[in-house]
Amino acid sequence: MTPMTRDRRARGHWRRQLGILALLVVLVAVPWVITDPYKISICTMILINVILACTLFPLLHAGMFTIAHAAFMAIGAYSSALLTLKAGLSFWLAFPIAGMVTAVVAALIGIPTLRTKGVFFLLITFGLNEVGRLVISSLNITGGAEGLGGIRRIDAIPVPGIGVIEFTSRAANYYFVLALAVLTIVVLVRLWRTAFGRAWQAIGQSEELAVSLGIPLARYKLSLFCLSCFFAGLTGSFFAHYYRFLSPADFTVWNSIYPLVYLQVGGLGSMLGPILGATILTGALEIFRAIEEYKPMTFGVLLVVVMLLAPDGLIGFPSRARVLWKGRRGMR
C-alpha cells in the first residue's frame, strides 16, 4: 500500500466516522425537532423495521433465507407480555429474558432445520411461521385469536444521576428503541468484521468451501441464527410494551416478508442497506396513506420497479447505473 492509498483510506475512514456521528446526532434530536406525536410514532416504527431488517442482513449473507422472523418476534413479544402480566416481573427483567427465550427456541428449531438450504429452508421457515401463528391463536394463555391486552408500558427506571425515567411519552419510547437499534447494529457490524463474519460470508458463498476451510458449519450457522433471533425477540418485547396489545394478526408471514423486502431493496452491500431500505419503505407506506385504497398496489409497483432497476438494492444502484450508462455508450 502506497502512502497515498493509506492516507486516502484513513481519510475515508474518518469521513465515515463523522457521518455516523452526524447521523446519531440527528436521530437523537428528532423528538426535540419533531413535536407531532404521530410523526414520532412513525419514527419509532421505522426504527423497529430497521432493527428487523438489520438482523436479517447477516442471515442472508450466510445463505439462510428465512420467512420466520415474525414468529421469533412473536415469541419475544408474548414472553415479555406474559412475564410482566402473569409473573409480575419488571419489564427490565422480562426484556432480556424474552430475548433469551427466543434464542433458546431458535436453537431448538435451528438444530434440525439448519441442515437444509436454499428454497427448502425458505419453505420450512414459511411453515414454521404459519404453525407459530396458528399455535398462538389456539392457546388460551396467549389470548387466542382475540389477542392479549392490558400489557403495561415499559416500567419507569431510576437512573443514578438523572433521576427516574418514565416511559409514558412517545419520546421516551423512541429513545429506547433508538438505543436498541444502535446496540443491535453495533454488535452485528462489529461481529461482521471479525473472523466470525468472514466465516459466515464463506458459508453463504459455498458451504462445501467453508467446510474445506475448516469452519464448523453447524455451530456457526446455529450461533448466527440464535443471535439474529435474539435481537428479533428483544424487538418483540419492545413491540409488546409499546403497542400494549398483541394479536396473531401482527405476526403473519407478511410480517416476516416485509423486513426481507426492506433489506433487499436497501441492498446487501453493507449494513447501510437495510437501514436505508427500512427507512425509505416505511416512510413510503406512510406517505401512501393518502391514497389508502391503492396503498398495497402502489407499494407493489414501487417494489417491482426498484427490483427491476436495482436488483442488488439501492445502495448498489449508483455503481450499477454507472455500468449501465457506460454500457450504453459502447464502453465495456
Binding site: Y38, Y243, E292
Partner: protein, 422 residues
C-alpha cells in the same frame, strides 16, 4: 333635495348590505372533521368501503337539512378515513394518524375488535368519543367512558329471535358452527344463554345443544366439518357470525341433506346468499337486518314522539326511506346488509354534540349518558350494559328488524327487542 335622496339611498344600501351579510354569516357552515377508522384494504375492504359510503350519504342528508348547531355556529361533517387493517397495530396507526395528523376528536368505528383494542390507549389518553361497532367486552375493562357501542351484540338480538324460532318451529336439537375468533365466540355465548332461558321456562329436555363447532374464516370447503356436525342430526343450525362464508356453509349443508333451519347474526347480502348457495337451498334462513324493498314501518309511541323528531329533523321524515333512496341514487345499488348495524353511529354523535352544545369530550359523554331513551333508525333505543359482562352503560339496546329468507325473497319477521342477559 338631491342630497337627501342620496343619503336615503345610501342608508338603504347600507342596511341591505348589513342584512345580507348577517344572513350570509348565519349561513356559513363550519366543518367538523370526523374520523372513520375501518378496514379499507385487503379483505376488510368489503365492509369498510360500503360503510364509508353510507356515512357519506348520511352526512349529505344532514347537510341538506341544515346541519347541526354548536355554540351558535352551524356545522356539517367531513369524513376522514383511515385504514386499520383489522389488526391491533393497524388500529393504533389509524388512530394516531386521525388524532395527530388530521386533528380529529370523534370516531365512527372501528368495526374490528382487534383494531378497537389497539387504539384503546390513544382513545383514553386523548378523550376521543368513539361510536364503535366492535363487540368485544374487553374495550370497557379499563373503564374508558369515551366509547359507545352503538349496536347490540348480534348474538343478543338473535338470542331473542332464536328463542322465538325454537318455540314456534318446535326445535329440539340445536347445533352451532362459529368462526374461531372473538366475534364468533361471544355471539355464540350470547345465544347459548338465550337457549338456556328457554330451558328454564320449559324444561331442560325441551331443547338440547347437540354440537358446538368452531372453524376458521375464509375457507371455501366446510364439508368435512359439516358432515361431522350433521351426524348429530340437529334440526336447527346457528351460524355464529360467518358472513361471506355463510352462503357456502348453507349450500354445503343442504347438499349433505340438511333440511332444518339456519340462524345467523351477521348475514351476508341476501342476493349473494341466494346466488352462491343456490336459491333452492335457501329456506328457513333467519337473520336480522333490513328488507330494503319492504322497509318496515316504524311505530313510535306518543311519549317518544318528541325525541324521535330530533332524528327526523336532521335525517328526513322517514330516515330509513330517505337513506335508502339516496344511497341507491348515488351508487346505483342496494346498501349492503352489513350497513344495518351502523346507521345510528353518525346521528347519535351529532345529536349529542348539539345537545351538549360543546365539543368537550366529557360534556358530550355526560349528555349521551343522560338520555333515558334516544331515537334510532329503527325506533328508539336505550343505553344498557351495566348489568352484563360489559360493566358500563354504554352499549345500545334497540329494537332490531328481523327477517326470514326464502330463495331470493326476504320476509320481514318483525322487530325484536333484545332482552338483557344477566
Amino acid at each position: 333635495m338631491k342630497g337627501k335622496r342620496w343619503t336615503l339611498s345610501l342608508v338603504a344600501l347600507l342596511t341591505l348590505f348589513l342584512v345580507v351579510t348577517s344572513v350570509a354569516y348565519a349561513q356559513t357552515t363550519e366543518v367538523l372533521k370526523v374520523g372513520v377508522p375501518n378496514g379499507y384494504t385487503g379483505s376488510g375492504a368489503s365492509s369498510g368501503l360500503p360503510t364509508l359510503k353510507a356515512y357519506k350519504i348520511q352526512a349529505d342528508i344532514l347537510k341538506q337539512h341544515g346541519g347541526f348547531t354548536v355554540g351558535g355556529k352551524k356545522y356539517t361533517l367531513d369524513l376522514i378515513q383511515a385504514d386499520d387493517g383489522y389488526t391491533a397495530a393497524g388500529g393504533r396507526a389509524a388512530a394516531e394518524k386521525l388524532i395527530f395528523a388530521d386533528k380529529v376528536r370523534f370516531f365512527l368505528g372501528p368495526l374490528s375488535s382487534a383494531a378497537m383494542m389497539g387504539m384503546l390507549p390513544l382513545v383514553e389518553e386523548n378523550k376521543i368519543i368513539t361510536m364503535t361497532n366492535s363487540i368485544t367486552t374487553e374495550k370497557f375493562k379499563t373503564g374508558c367512558r369515551y366509547i359507545f357501542q352503538v349496536n347490540p351484540q348480534g348474538g343478543l338480538v338473535l338470542a331473542s329471535q332464536v328463542m322465538r324460532i325454537i318455540q314456534t318451529n318446535n326445535v329440539r336439537k340445536v347445533a352451532a358452527f362459529s368462526p374461531k375468533d372473538e366475534t364468533g365466540r361471544q355471539n355464540w355465548e350470547q345465544m347459548k344463554t338465550g337457549i338456556k332461558q328457554v330451558w328454564e321456562k320449559e324444561g331442560a329436555d325441551r331443547v338440547k345443544i347437540v354440537h358446538e363447532e368452531f372453524g376458521e374464516r375464509g375457507q371455501s370447503d366446510y364439508t368435512p366439518i359439516l358432515a361431522k356436525l350433521l351426524a348429530t342430526k340437529p334440526d336447527f343450525i346457528i351460524l355464529g357470525a360467518f358472513a361471506g362464508e355463510a352462503p357456502l356453509i348453507v349450500k354445503q349443508s343442504r347438499e349433505l341433506g340438511y333440511k332444518g333451519a339456519f340462524a345467523n347474526p351477521m348475514s351476508p347480502d341476501p342476493k349473494e346468499l341466494a346466488q352462491v348457495a343456490g336459491a333452492q337451498n335457501v329456506y328457513e334462513y333467519y337473520s336480522w337486518g333490513i328488507v330494503w324493498n319492504d322497509l318496515p314501518k316504524i311505530d313510535i309511541p306518543a311519549k317518544h314522539a318528541g325525541i324521535y323528531r330530533k332524528l327526523t329533523d336532521k335525517f328526513g321524515k322517514e330516515p330509513l326511506v330517505e337513506f335508502y333512496q339516496r344511497y341507491k341514487a348515488a351508487y346505483n345499488e342496494d346498501p349492503p346488509g352489513a350497513i344495518v348495524y351502523m346507521l345510528d353511529n353518525l346521528p347519535l354523535l351529532v345529536l349529542a354534540l348539539e345537545q351538549a352544545n360543546s365539543f368537550d369530550a366529557d360534556k358530550v359523554v355526560k349528555t349521551m349518558e343522560s338520555w333515558d331513551v334516544w331515537p334510532s333508525y329503527y325506533g328508539t333505543g336505550v343505553w344498557s350494559g351495566d348489568k352484563t359482562t360489559y360493566g358500563i352503560k354504554h352499549v345500545a339496546t334497540k329494537s332490531s328488524p328481523t327477517f326470514k329468507q326464502q330463495g331470493t325473497k326476504l320476509i320481514s319477521t318483525g322487530f325484536v327487542m333484545p332482552e338483557l342477559v344477566p
